[in-house]
């Protein structure tokens, strides 16, 4: 197990380096940062002076090395737009995104896994149909539309929840449902498919034949195996939620890291975009790593592969 963990950890670090280098170089290819910084009235000399001042004229590898060294010490530079340290900006916004992401994935898992299991126990029953309907609706409904429907219903018609903002736990209820609902269908369908597959296998028949209680068969024997691909999927979805909740954050005025990333791209705020790409990719890498470890723990066969 330790060997497996070390191997995966080494791989994760390599991926992290590659991602950081690609993100750094991609942004430089996207445009001339000196032109973007200089503004409308700048002359050619002004732009050249800025290029020198910020060191954009040096080899990219040197710039990357410096940036990475500073980043490892938690210094991502100053945002061109806000003129504040990027690290503090991200730290502040990340708490909103983390809260939303964790609530979202919890909501998705808590609703999707039981529904998936129930649908698999009785395929083609009413429960299965309802679960299918929910998953199709979840995939088909754009989150901006679903978000607005919830706002109209719960904030305007019923007046139960605040329409937007992040100052109380109640502010997170609607965004959690919208974000979680988007991830729910995939998790549910995968749980259902995994359970159906496992339930028809020989060892389950054996377990039932030897008289094991049904609940024990379902949750101890079947779900443990059926859940393995779900763990990987949930890890990816979690990474997606932390980096990709731009629409939900925008509709509910949550000012999280996803919305910051989107806006920073529009504003050509290079230091912020670079730092956010690094942070988001770290999430993906860490969650994928954790999912691998969790899978290896659930399924000993994976440790040798």
């Amino acid at each position: 197990m330790l060997n497996f963990i070390l191997k995966r950890l080494g791989l994760a670090v390599l991926v992290a380096f590659t991602v950081s280098f690609i993100s750094f170089s991609l942004l430089f290819m996207a445009g001339d940062p000196a032109v973007a910084l200089a503004g409308e009235t700048a002359s050619g000399e002004d732009i050249e002076a800025l290029r020198k001042l910020y060191g954009f004229d040096r080899p990219m590898l040197v710039q990357y090395g410096e940036w990475l060294w500073a980043a490892l010490r938690g210094d991502f530079g100053e945002s061109y737009y806000f003129r504040l340290p990027v690290a503090s900006l991200i730290a502040e916004r990340l708490s909103v995104t983390m809260t939303l992401g964790l609530c979202g994935i919890t909501f998705a898992l808590v609703t999707a896994v039981p529904l998936g299991v129930a649908a698999a126990i009785r395929p083609n029953s009413i429960i299965d149909r309802v679960a299918l309907f929910l998953s199709v609706a979840g995939q088909a409904m754009p989150s901006f539309w679903f978000g607005l429907i919830l706002i109209v219903l719960f904030a305007i018609k019923l007046g139960w929840l605040p329409p937007s903002g992040a100052s109380t736990p109640a502010h997170f209820i609607m965004p959690t449902i919208v974000l979680g609902y988007y991830a729910m269908p995939a998790i549910m369908r995968l749980t259902r498919a995994g359970m159906l597959d496992v339930l028809s296998s020989d060892y389950i028949r054996t377990a039932r034949a030897k008289g094991a209680p049904e609940m024990r068969v379902l949750f101890r024997h079947a779900l443990r195996n059926a859940i393995i691909p779900v763990v990987s999927l949930a890890a990816v979805q979690m990474g997606f939620m932390l980096g990709g909740s731009i629409v939900v954050e925008s509709i509910f005025a949550l000012h999280g890291a996803g919305y910051l990333a989107w806006e920073s791209i529009a504003r050509n705020d290079l230091p912020t975009v670079q730092a956010l790409i690094l942070v988001f990719s770290m999430f993906y890498i860490v969650f994928t790593f954790l999912a691998d470890v969790l899978n290896a723990w659930l399924d000993p066969r994976m440790r040798s592969s």
């Binding site: 904030a155 329409p163 109640a170 925008s250 919305y259 529009a266």
Partner: protein
Amino acid sequence: MKKSWFKTTIASVALIAASGAAWAEKANDTLRVGFTKELENVDSYFNSSREGVVLQRAIWDGLIYRDPITNEYSGNLATSWEWIDDLTLEFKLREGVTFHNGEAFNADDVVYTVNFVAKEENGVKTQRNVNWMKSAEKIDDYTVRIHLKEAFPAAIEFLSGPVSMYPNEYYAEVGPSGMGLKPVGTGPYKAVSVVPGQHFVLQKNADYHDSPKGKASIENVDIRTIPDVNTQMAELFSGSLDLIWQVPADQAEKLAQMDQFTVSNESTMRVGYLSMDAAGRSGDTPFTNVLVRRAVNHAINREELVAALLKGKSKVVWTPCFPSQFGCVQDAATEYEYNPEKAKALLAEAGYPDGFTTEFYAYRNREYAEAILSYLNAVGIKADFKFLQYSALRELNMTGDVPLAFLTWGSFSINDASAMVSQFFKHGSLDDARDDQVLADLTIADSATDDATRIEHYGNAIARITDQAYWAPMFSYNTNYVSTNEVSYTPTADEVLRFTTMTWN
């Protein structure tokens, strides 16, 4: 059982939230306002947003004040001023004014502020607002002189707009980042809380001096940034916002039909125009031919655009500046009536009887750009339409890679033609005309100190620009302000929300 538990939880959390949230805040004397855009830095020299101008006018004061309705200048932090010569302005300062942190206002503050912002390396975001000043000099505690780099007749206009006075000791200590987080000014409102880009809380300055801005009536102003306009409307409906602005015309029309809201519309200084690459900076393009540029001008039905899309107080504009700006001589402009047949004939004469295909860029109001595109299509100009973010398009513009673009300019609410026509036609990086005759006229107009000379030369420049059809100026923008009936506010044409003129009904 589980389901009812879930319901109960949601309902109880909602109830707690509702009791904690602030509904209908007239009783608490707090006006709740929605902003759309994240303001980068409250320090007014380090942002270029409309939202920044709104906060600047609330928190700080300038030496001079311009009445937004009569356009007359009066003293604010200065009580009087005079031109010593073309390059020197002397001010007598108001005594007994204090900053929000208790620091007394005097000549040292003016000297420090001017010397700080005029220095290019300090990086003031909109250099044009400050780069005409060379330095400031203290004569005595309440007399100060501002020295100009060269003659700049629009100085008074700039001093009544974007140039605010900062407390020298505090600013020296905290700098732009500190000022952005804890702003300190002399204005009618003081900032009590700032969450960068997200939330700003202002409180009435009870000790506000006898300024022409007038004392505030509403005690607190609570501003939240809500990027989605639909969410802003939901906040308004649910009673957790009192005022929103920049509401799209179609939404404003619907809100106007509802009894509980007041919708008012006012023009802004923003002008929408087509820019054409007359100088051929983007390579071999048909727009180097004046006949093609005139054809484009004739192809667009400006009246229809205004009536169908912009609505409100928008107007057709024929000049490369906003009509109310000083020097924006309306009679000088050539007006191109909507005549697609004439446009086709001009294109044929220019050697394009079947039209041509060009790249067409835009960065905002996609629906306007698409309408313009359909007019161009109708006369045979086909376009490869590219919709970019502002910063990306601006970069392409600066490097001269844009043959045709739908652009807009708001002049930072400066009521002087130099803020628009001189920005684009003085051979800078955004100048796609590069006309020496225009440059010569604008150079004189920008620095002449007597009004008649300025008007004459701006007029000449406008005549030349419109005759050569370097641009196709089209329309002015407008803004819709929507408030609950409890708020009384009359907007002004410069698109600055003035909290001091707002009252409860």
